[in-house]
Amino acid sequence: MKNKLLVQAKGLWKSYEIRVSLFKKIRFWALKNINLEIKERESVVLLGESGCGKTTLGKLILGIEKPDKGHIEVSTSVQAVFQDPYASLNPRMKIKESLLEPFLIKFRKSEKEGLKKVINLLREVGLSKEVLELYPHALSGGQRQRVALARALITDPGLLVLDEPTSSLDVSVEAQILKVLKRLREKTGASYFLITHSLRVAKALADKILVMYMGNIVEEFSAELLNKTMHHPYTQMLIRAYPDPFAPSPPPFDQIKGEVAGITEIKKGCPFYPRCPIKEDICLTGSPELKPLSRKHSIACFLVSKLNHLN
């Protein structure tokens, strides 16, 4: 049986105007020609570094922003969990109120029924009833993030947009939250759109990984293919730059060079050209399109034939 499409986006473009000096504004394209599909029960991870446009794409799915071009169809209810649990909970509302409010608005049921569901969900995310009467300041970062997660789930959304949900947490707390996320997905059947810069987090939760660089999706692949197939030069760089504490040898310090071009210095050609280790003249002729190599794998690179397996 084929899973239903929850999100379908075609040719999304999104730009912002940025003032570079007193009299000069430039148009900066945060997203360029993005195609995206999220299926029922699927966990899609968007991997990229700061400023690549990953949060903007999340906002388009949530309907907080509208695309300049292209269209996006979302056929389910969507909820969000953001990076900073200190900012996403109202400090003047008790946890109980924060959790009940979306329930009462959406379902128009009694508070008693709501409370029953709230307590159930708190148990799911690993919190006890005691937190109901507390204010957010009394909770730790990890506990707040659990509350934020419970609040997102209380309206039974079909899709959760998780924007760096663990980046502000300690390693041991991060592992706990990721486990909760994993279990909840199996239990509720909700789809995830997880935005992260961490390969470790991506590995833990993804069915499908999208790699983004300067507003372009440069690679899209099934998570099980990670490291087992050829990758876009940027994906390769991300994999190599990850310092794995349990690897037998140090990361290849010499192979990672350069940084993302500033928005004022963007030139024609492949966005990764300035940093690419295998670049050729053809790469300056335009921006490569995402082309499928197989059903589970697409790469946007002019030199696909030159790409090697990592190992």
Binding site: L134, L139, D170, V173, K257
Partner: protein, 311 residues
């Protein structure tokens, strides 16, 4: 051959009048060594490092212990003498280079401020320093303001400033945490090469196991203000001894972590015993009966603060 020690921290306790935050921490940094302090938020790693150059936040002071730098006890120095050490002998770089740099001064002005000699000499030396830290087009960059630089470049500028007086010890407090993966590894490489080429000793502080593994030579693990384990870096990652260190390693490789329901007690009971008692999965009768375990030497190079290793 006996290694020369550069910095010796002995039984250092920090805190306010009412509570101690860092408790009897001792470690030695040898000349030319990179020593790491590993710990999660609130473990006391930053306070420990700031106490060395006595930049503690208001209300926190040194309760007891010694900080011996090149045979001088820094805890006994007055402000004036301490000023001859700060920046000149011991330099500091922090996590967020944007707040550490002055936004209204150019890069050149901020580096030259620290240097002596006439204008031409200072400029020449500033360019030299920027070259040393791998900033492209150093002559041009001298005229830039911090906001015109990327995160990675700003951190390089901070490192250049810290190197200006040729210090013998660099305290690096989470210098790569705010950076993207591909920049993080470049800053790691820079610090490693400064250590190898110039023999710069570094006290490296991070919560990131991957970064710690590939930069430090010896590591001290902090938990709730206690140094709970110290070991050469390979040994620590291969065979952690303390239950907390083991848990940390497991949490990092998300998959194996079996401790989802931990750390949920809203009230962490204060008791007189082992700091890890409440969360420890290996605790026995003994741990409840006895007080805080001493730092037990397992071998000449390894120490652990856990009753299980008592002989």
């Amino acid at each position: 051959m006996k290694k020369m020690s550069l910095l010796k921290v002995e039984n250092l306790s920090l805190g306010s009048d009412r509570i101690s935050i860092v408790k009897e921490v001792s470690f030695v940094i040898h000349r030319g060594e990179i020593y790491g302090l590993l710990g999660e938020s609130g473990s006391g790693k930053t306070l420990t490092s700031l106490s060395i150059i006595r930049l503690l936040p208001p209300g926190v002071h040194i309760l007891s212990g010694k900080i011996i730098f090149k045979e001088i006890d820094l805890t006994g120095l007055d402000e004036e003498n301490l000023r001859n050490i700060r920046g000149k002998e011991i330099a500091l770089i922090l996590q967020d280079p944007l707040s550490a740099l002055n936004p209204v001064l150019t890069v050149g002005e901020q580096i030259e401020e620290v240097l002596s000699g006439n204008k031409a000499e200072r400029k020449r030396r500033a360019i030299e320093l920027l070259k040393e830290v791998g900033l492209p087009d150093p002559e041009m960059r001298l005229r830039n303001y911090p906001h015109e630089l990327s995160g990675g470049m700003r951190q390089r500028v901070m490192i250049a400033i810290s190197l200006a007086r040729d210090p013998s010890l660099l305290i690096a407090d989470e210098p790569t945490t705010a950076l993207d993966l591909t920049l993080q590894i470049q800053i790691m490489k820079l610090l490693l090469s400064l250590n190898q080429k110039k023999g710069l000793s570094i006290l490296f502080i991070t919560h990131d196991l991957g970064v710690m593994r590939w930069i430090a030579r010896r590591v001290g693990v902090l938990y709730k203000g206690f140094l709970i384990e110290e070991a050469p870096v390979e040994d620590l990652f291969k065979t952690p001894l303390h239950p907390y260190a083991k848990e940390l390693m497991k949490a990092y490789s998300i998959e194996d972590s079996g401790t989802e329901m931990r750390a949920l007690n809203l009230k962490t009971q204060e008791h007189q015993g082992c700091p890890y008692l409440a969360l420890c999965s290996e605790k026995t009768e003994k741990c409840y009966k006895k007080g805080v375990p001493p730092l037990i030497a397992i071998s000449p190079k390894r120490k652990v603060r856990c009753w299980h290793y008592e002989k």
